[in-house]
Symmetry: C3
Subunit: 350 residues, 3 copies
Amino acid sequence: MPVSLGELAVRFGCELRGDPDTRIERVATLAAASADAGALSFLANPRYRAQLSTTHAAAVVLSGADAAACRTAMLVCANPYATYARIATLLYPTAPLVPGVHPSAVVAASAHIDPSARVGALASVGEGVRVGPRVLVGPHCNLEEDVALAADVQLAARVTLGRGVVIGARTVVQPGVVIGGDGFGFAAADGGWVKVPQLGTVQIGADVEIGANTTIDRGAIDDTVIEDGVKLDNLIMVGHNTRIGAHTVIAGCTGISGSATIGKRCVIGGAVGIAGHISIADDVVITGYSAISHSIALAGVYSSTLPAEEAQVWRRLVARFKRGDALGARVRRLERAAGLAPAPHDEPHD
Amino acid sequence: MPVSLGELAVRFGCELRGDPDTRIERVATLAAASADAGALSFLANPRYRAQLSTTHAAAVVLSGADAAACRTAMLVCANPYATYARIATLLYPTAPLVPGVHPSAVVAASAHIDPSARVGALASVGEGVRVGPRVLVGPHCNLEEDVALAADVQLAARVTLGRGVVIGARTVVQPGVVIGGDGFGFAAADGGWVKVPQLGTVQIGADVEIGANTTIDRGAIDDTVIEDGVKLDNLIMVGHNTRIGAHTVIAGCTGISGSATIGKRCVIGGAVGIAGHISIADDVVITGYSAISHSIALAGVYSSTLPAEEAQVWRRLVARFKRGDALGARVRRLERAAGLAPAPHDEPHD
Amino acid sequence: MPVSLGELAVRFGCELRGDPDTRIERVATLAAASADAGALSFLANPRYRAQLSTTHAAAVVLSGADAAACRTAMLVCANPYATYARIATLLYPTAPLVPGVHPSAVVAASAHIDPSARVGALASVGEGVRVGPRVLVGPHCNLEEDVALAADVQLAARVTLGRGVVIGARTVVQPGVVIGGDGFGFAAADGGWVKVPQLGTVQIGADVEIGANTTIDRGAIDDTVIEDGVKLDNLIMVGHNTRIGAHTVIAGCTGISGSATIGKRCVIGGAVGIAGHISIADDVVITGYSAISHSIALAGVYSSTLPAEEAQVWRRLVARFKRGDALGARVRRLERAAGLAPAPHDEPHD
């Protein structure tokens, strides 16, 4: 679906520098664009700025601040990454959904499938399920009873939705996701554990994205809630009764214990661990590989990331950390020798 | 299935304070219970104690120590969480299993399915599999040859059990779980890796629970073993030849390398990393987000959790940690200036 | 498939110490081998060396350095683990593949399945897919359009391959793996997020192994690339546009953010976090549970593993770490009192 640079400039509100008749046929990275085709590239990460002077792209989407460094035609705009995303969506339209239920799918008699929706090969749909307009239930999905999918939901493939799970419009779920497995609730008794029935379900808002093999557990009593616009990466664990606020983004491998409340518009890095029963304010940023064991009341950036070192250096640092007492004792000895009174921040509990 | 408060008190051995004819119809959290229905709530986590004075629950299950703070009818008992769990199980009975094999399931000729068991839609059952009484093999499960499931096992949906996996009575497996994938065994040779055949299988005890998308690998020679009553949360990795002792509980995202031996009744937090070939004693507690790189011989609580800080503060702490040498050198200089002999814990190796 | 010790020695180039007619029927660990059968064991991990004097194995594969400690017949060789792996592969041949498409599988008209390949029960194969000679597409796999599998690929069961994914010869994929889910790309705009189309695919080389429930995302523009001989354990997250160099091994629960480039022959421990857009050199070793937030330019061993301590000790260490300022201030006070000039490594920014 080729389009002229001029048309893109008009349609997406960019300042065009270059020939408006340049034909754009595809997108490419700055590094990989080759000169013989109408490749559009973009610059959003300053890490790749030097590539502006060497790229063979036909045109580049970038911000005004980067324009001087660029040797090609340009679409200059305030938010190059979002503009690139919109142009790429135009250039690469998704294949139209073929409505209907694949003959190999198993659909319960009381399920309601909108005629414009698609149910893929070897999917199963339980009693009382409601599938809205233009929904894709991909191959191998299984929807247990009373699941409800709003318009334009896309379950890519092999997604499991437990009893009563509700998903809002346009939400996209990648393969392998499990929503509505039992929460992890056990009461200690008699030297073992009694299972606590997990009676709630999961409510997913509109415009959410959920990455491959992520799991979101059903609530123990009330529901687990993912608000509108939340983006979850792969292999994330969301415990029961957690609430994630609108437009929060969470990177892969992060684990969120039960009954945590996470604010709106947070940005949470990968492999973060969030303890149960805590609250995180709106607009909190957490760097990857941090442990959040207490509530965070104020917006801001938080971290306990420990960047790796050469291993011998690291082992020495850890050894010193673990015998930290020694240095404190030596300072106390020096203070005594110098006749200095204990400092106000002395360490009386050590 | 409504029941009177008096009947609950008798049945579960609680002291009743309030009207025994109070009708209990459902459960609710202290915060969400509304006054117009027979909601039973409970208090187990002291964090929610203040809600006792504001709840609209019809009655609350709690311990004697909390009774004075409560404004509603009460069921007073020694273990409110376990008592709540048992009452909720009574109030919300699971739907009875409909025995039989769904016509879309694929069952090998030599598999034995107990007539009281259920095999769901689009499940597959391999040669030589034995499925015991009242077992649920949920939709989309696949059981490879010679799997054996004892009575009352529940495979919720889309569970994969590899060749020869054995599961004990009443064990519950959540969707997406893989038990019996190959262990991660490769021998370095000729600049690459030779695969070590993974010849063992996995033995899962009775009354175990396994959370969504958790993986348990088959043993290399001997079997991987999960003992009775173990509870595993979501997205846990259990490496080959690991043994997890009875009634141990492990929270989500924890990774256990191969050939680790974990004791009985341990409580292991989320996102913990446990190295291979180590032993952990019975009754060990490990806080979430800790790294266990050595064996633990004694019961107790262990941790290397680093709670996050505001990021600027954190970066300063890490910078100081990494140049720790400087402070040690300054103390040595002071000791020399003061004519003090090196302290017994001096740091000669730095 | 019993075989004599003499034949094994010849076939695998070992020095035989013991009776060449000893019949080897199976493998066993040093500890579990029983005297009444022809069990072959091996010693590769020095941790188990003491078992050489107590084992009841018929013979042991080991290195010359360990031979003196062994009481049984021996196959002495330079690389006992690899030799054991090869012997075990010989003793336990995998069942021959039964070619053909299971009648319950759903195969698109334009898919090409080599007549020597097998497509298992309830698998689905999309339009344009090419399945090479002797490939196993296990039960419940789903291959979306234009997937290409080279000769002898094994998809154990329930593997999802997205549109256009390419897999090289002999690669083995464990159950639950998702290759080609959308990468995690969103551009901030208007208080929410715009999805960036994920237009690339995933290229997997030859002789790769991918563990259960691991996810590998498709590239945003260019492809995500896993080179030949890479071994990935379970529950690993590989972000979009990542490249992993040949023969690199990565243990379970590790997360790799997008656009990371990892060198050849690296060995990366479990639960490691690797930031996006960084490069790691060839032959880098990273210890388990480390955070890699910057590029690593030189081969070597890197770590930020913090081994756990008894929790009370740990809390004291963390408390001291966090008030590290105090000790620095006390040393400054001592330096002033002693009339010492600030040390060259003083901490002016604190």
